[in-house]
Symmetry: C2
Subunit: 248 residues, 2 copies
């Protein structure tokens, strides 16, 4: 099974074959078996198959074609709305309108999402995470009718794979693991840890295509730029306020 | 395999049997195969086995006995420190000192954590998540020498199980899944969705032990209280500032 975890690739091209109701229930159920804080299950999953709604969501994900082409889009949300309602109608005063509760609920949603991925891949489906969800949460909230207490955290597209991409590179294990305590990185260590990545043909091509000096600049100057990050940060903090998670 | 995901229980009692180096590498490697935003891998895992450091961490996790008793403690961190260093020494200016970057890195860390759990369970290990990590992040940062750009998000204790607890309850699938868009809950629906949970003997016992009126009050008045949540929220926001994630 570990082999299976180790074979994960993001799949961006899908066959038209729909996902059966039974399989959908099965992979979502596997999601619900993930641990959540205090077993509160403060998350929701929105399963979207309707082409019109997928088309509406598409710009929120920068029009990446997977959103319209995948038979299934799952939006994983931090959700205290359901739990708050349960508390309120039971004469219990919820104190979950704060930042900690948002993070708690986001953690729940993400552990569930990863379980769903693994269950889906075990059924022969391919998946792709869309990091754009937290950039455009406000618009997604509007499209999916998310009430206060609910914030979308990540999105998956799912379907039967119509491509078989190679495994993508990873940093060596000792780049991301520290034993006992954190050991900070020397300049030489950083050079060593990133050297394989920098040597990849595909990354050299990125550098050339984007007219930058090196791979690090592909990230800072092209893909994940400070200006965008700051704008998305402010938008996301506004969303947290609006959805009722910044009342400390 | 889905069966395996569906059999997850939190394990809080462990045998003394240590986890071999080989198994540790294998489960950590499975973690690294999880998707991360832009394949940036902006997370770190601190693997702690030293009894003295575990003892230091123990109060951060409210002295839950697992921390000292488990042979292995893994602290999963949002980590832009390594990536920032790589950028800086490559004449690339990182723009990752903001809230969006923190959330991006936290997402990475959590998807990796769940992969590690599943790989560990597949090897016959038991795991338990500790939600306390985000409550006491400041102290954990100190103990584990986490530099700026690094924030602990969640912790796992791992070891060979010395107990076989029953599966815990979950809300019915239609409590957490919405089709196409979000359908908000009526009072009747909430009652229906939580009724099984409210009827459980173990939960009735909680109510009695804590001298509250119902299960919802166990959460609001005993386990996850507003005052604590507000204090932990403020502490966590301070940590984000201090670690350099609130510079927008």
């Amino acid at each position: 099974m570990t082999t299976n975890l180790n074979q994960h690739r993001s799949i961006r091209k899908y066959k038209d074959t729909p996902i059966s109701e039974e399989m959908l229930s099965e992979i979502l159920y596997a999601g619900t078996r993930a641990s959540t804080t205090g077993n509160m299950q403060v998350y929701s999953i929105i399963a979207t198959r309707d082409n019109e709604i997928k088309a509406e969501l598409s710009p929120c994900h920068f029009n990446q074609p997977m959103i319209k082409e995948a038979p299934l889009v799952l939006t994983f949300c931090a959700d205290f709305n359901r739990f708050n309602k349960w508390c309120q109608q039971n004469d219990a005063k919820p104190g979950y309108d704060n930042f900690l509760s948002f993070i708690t609920a986001a953690i729940d949603a993400l552990l569930v999402a990863q379980n769903v991925c693994i269950a889906a891949e075990n059924e022969g489906l391919g998946i792709c995470y869309l990091g754009t969800t937290i950039y455009t949460a406000e618009k997604i909230i509007e499209i999916l009718d998310l009430p206060p207490g609910v914030v979308p955290i990540t999105t998956l597209t799912l379907g039967y794979p119509d491509e078989a991409p190679p495994l993508t590179d990873r940093l060596p294990l000792d780049a991301v693991v520290h034993y006992e305590k954190y050991t900070d990185y020397s300049k030489e260590k950083i050079d060593e840890l990133y050297s394989e990545k920098e040597k990849l043909e595909s990354n050299k091509q990125f550098i050339e295509e984007n007219g930058v000096k090196n791979l690090a600049q592909v990230f800072t100057d092209v893909r994940y730029k400070k200006g965008d990050n700051v704008a998305f940060s402010n938008a996301l903090l506004e969303v947290l306020k609006k959805q009722g998670f910044m009342e400390q």
